[in-house]
Amino acid sequence: MAFQRILFTGVGGQGTLLASRLLGEAVMEEGLPVRVSEVHGMAQRGGVVESTVILGGLEGPIISNGEADILVSFEPLETLRALPKCHEDSWIISNIIPIQTLTVRLGQAEYPDPDRWIDFIKQHFKNTVAFDAESLAKEAGITRAVNIVLLGALAGCGTVPASPERLKRAIKKRIKPEFVEANLKAFELGLAQVSR
């Protein structure tokens, strides 16, 4: 099994940690080695929340610049911020709906134009999948499931060693029963975003 380093990034409250954990559980159920790192502490207070999933028997839980094989980003500004972690063959899976920052709201900074910079990413990273994950989550009936939509898209790329079925089983196991159906739909909608 190949070495693989996956970076998840988003804003506190978007469910970054849950997405990486679900992937971790699915990979473990495949009987493969996996490490998932989380940074806690500031998560609920609007800061950036990063997590990683490390595969192939690697043990180091963090990712150096240029070494993320896949970036799963829940927010376009955070996608830009994480680009230095990627290399030219990295998969970039990104939501395109911005979450404003406090500094932008206070007029102290400018939010980069999402359309322009998504184009920039596509020009520089050939494996870019950028789409409105929020609308798909709404379509699935659970606005909060942006994380599960993106997890679906990640499964669609076919590079992670956990089958969509395994991932769906992890969702069923980990998510409250009343939300499972909507989350599974969110997963399918994400999966369909990536045509292989």
């Binding site: 043990e59 180091g60 102290q108 520089h124």
Partner: protein, 563 residues
């Protein structure tokens, strides 16, 4: 049932390092645990707290008022023959160190494990002290896991080791070992039944008056000699690979070394000594290793703990092998490592050229707006800060006011637009440093402390302020929980987790009992009334305490607003 009580030996669970520690402790028959929360150790206490709700866990756990108290609770339980545990973040060990160092002398009976979680890079801390030095200072055995499976294995082993040596055993994690998930193979849970400890009086053992302490210090040194023999043959210290270049590493740094060896495919060029039982140093094992290689690279985060010990040993044994690491400039004493840093250093000493992945030119990227953490929308602390600022503005004091602050969510008052945090050292420092500023300046002083921090270490400084006639206004931001670390209870809380029946100690009663004459309570959401009260106490040139009482909104929502 709590997932950590899963009784299915051989099953793999994806556990956080901190959860794996709890699982290891349960497998070892933990009976009594106590802690004060602090990132990155918090999930240990949180899980133990949840486990107390499970009758089959037969576990006593408490959130104590601070780390010193928690360590004392665990120490006494151990003296009564029970297996006990305490956990804390690295700076918590400073608070508990008074206990730690003498506890090493009197020793323990039931296995006792002390977990310190360090925070290299200061993800959520005020310093990045290297707590391995506490093992050396107190002269106690220390284990350092590098991942979740080891965290479980070492915790279980630490209880055995502690009981054998009659010494507490330190487990030192870092953020990257506490907060990493990985598959952990479960071992069997012991048949659990309620255990009652029994303390046998032995003043010559447990009461370290000078005559006893002199005897006990000698015992400690003897026990640590036995500990060293254990370290020599410990399964947690192991050598892999074969080659004339030696690498010694511990903790998460050893993961980066492991990965480098796999990625560079240099197993035949390097001998890798992975240390897990890190104090006392296994001198025999290290000597053999020193003799078997041409040079050694020591890979460890923060201070040169192992590097210095290796150099001293090499010097003593007259082994002339270059020992590289911090002093040679291969690594820094600052911050946590990352994989590329370690890879480059190893490649450098092997004379390899590292193939860096090709990266696109990103120089055109604009300056990106930062996303600093901030107080939540609707947070009561924000209202209190605004009211204080308004009152000071109205009184004309604002330009000369000093705002000593403390540790909690409200430290975020440092950032714009609030900017009312001027001086901070440690838990409880708002009160003591207000006293100092009141002696040293004629400036107005308004200091801020949270409810949990007040109980942790604000009270004795407040008594000091009354007695020595210091003059400042202390604002207790009472949000009825320990919010920053994930909503743990404290003695003052009105808003209670379900089933939490412990007696309440109201902050107002404590403040009055400390002898403070001017005590006011405000609801910060009532803006006008709050401003008026601050105007009143700030006009009055006396020591005053204003308790701003309103629950943390996140916590209020979570417990369904039930009081």
């Amino acid at each position: 049932m709590h997932p950590l009580l899963t009784d299915d030996p051989g099953k793999n669970m994806l556990l956080l390092g901190n959860e794996a520690i709890v699982r290891g402790a349960l497998e070892a028959g933990l009976a009594v645990a106590a802690a004060y929360p602090g990132t990155p150790s918090s999930e240990i206490g949180n899980n133990l707290f949840q486990l107390t709700k499970e009758p089959e866990a037969h576990l006593y756990f408490e959130f104590s008022t601070n780390e010193k108290v928690a360590m004392e609770v665990a120490a006494a339980a151990s003296a009564a023959g029970l297996r006990s545990l305490t956990c804390m973040k690295h700076v918590g060990m400073n608070v508990a160190s008074d206990v730690l160092i003498t506890l090493a002398y009197i020793g323990t009976k039931g296995g006792m494990v002390i977990i310190t979680a360090d925070d290299p890079s200061m993800h959520s801390s005020q310093n990045e002290q290297d707590n391995r030095y506490y093992a050396k200072l107190a002269n106690l055995p220390m284990l350092e896991p590098s991942g979740p499976q080891e965290a479980r294995d070492m915790t279980k082993a630490a209880f055995e080791l502690s009981e054998e040596l009659e010494l507490p055993v330190i487990i030192r994690t870092t953020t990257r070992t506490s907060h990493v998930r990985g598959p952990v193979e479960l071992g069997p849970l012991p048949a659990r039944k309620q255990v009652v400890g029994n303390f046998e009086r032995a003043p010559g053992r447990w009461v370290p008056v000078p005559g006893v302490a002199r005897v006990r210090h000698k015992v400690l040194l003897e026990q640590m000699e036995k500990a060293q023999k254990k370290a020599e043959s410990s399964v947690f210290n192991r050598i892999g690979g074969s080659g004339k270049t030696g690498i010694v590493a511990s903790g998460v740094a050893s993961c980066y070394v492991h990965d480098t060896i796999m990625e560079l495919g240099c197993e035949n060029q390097v001998s890798f000594l992975r240390l897990g039982f890190t104090y006392p140093q296994p001198r025999e094992l290290l000597s053999e290793f020193l003799r078997s290689v041409d040079k050694i690279l020591v890979v460890e985060e923060l201070e040169s703990f192992q590097e210095d010990a290796l150099k001293a040993l090499a010097n003593e044994l007259k082994i002339n092998v270059p020992i590289l690491g911090k002093a040679s400039g291969h690594f820094s004493r600052l911050y946590e490592f990352d994989p590329a840093m370690v890879k480059n250093a190893i490649a450098d000493i092997l004379g390899y050229k590292v193939q860096r992945p090709k990266t696109p030119d990103l120089s055109r990227l604009p300056k990106l707006p930062m996303r600093p953490p901030s107080l939540c929308p609707g947070c009561p602390h924000r209202e209190t800060y605004n009211a204080v600022k308004k009152a000071l503005d109205l009184l004309g004091y604002t330009p000369k006011t000093i705002y000593p602050t403390d540790i909690g969510c409200y430290t975020l008052g440092l950032l714009p637009p609030i900017q009312m945090a001027d001086y901070l050292i440690c838990m409880g420092s708002s009160v003591g440093t207000s006293a100092g500023f009141s002696v040293a300046t004629d400036q107005k002083i308004v200091s801020f402390i949270g409810d949990s921090t007040f109980f942790h270490s604000g009270i004795s400084s407040l008594v000091n302020a009354v007695h020595n006639e210091h003059n400042f206004c202390l604002v207790v931001l009472d949000n009825s929980t320990t919010a920053m670390t994930g909503h743990q209870p404290n003695p003052g809380i009105k808003l209670r987790p379900p089933g939490y029946e412990k007696p309440r100690v109201p902050i107002e009663d404590v403040v009055r009992a400390c002898g403070v004459k001017v005590v006011r309570k405000v609801n910060p959401y009532k803006k006008k009334a709050t401003i008026e009260i601050f105007k009143e106490v700030l006009t009055n040139d006396k020591l005053s305490v204003v308790i701003a009482e309103a629950p943390c909104i996140l916590y209020y929502r979570r417990v369904g607003g039930k009081k």
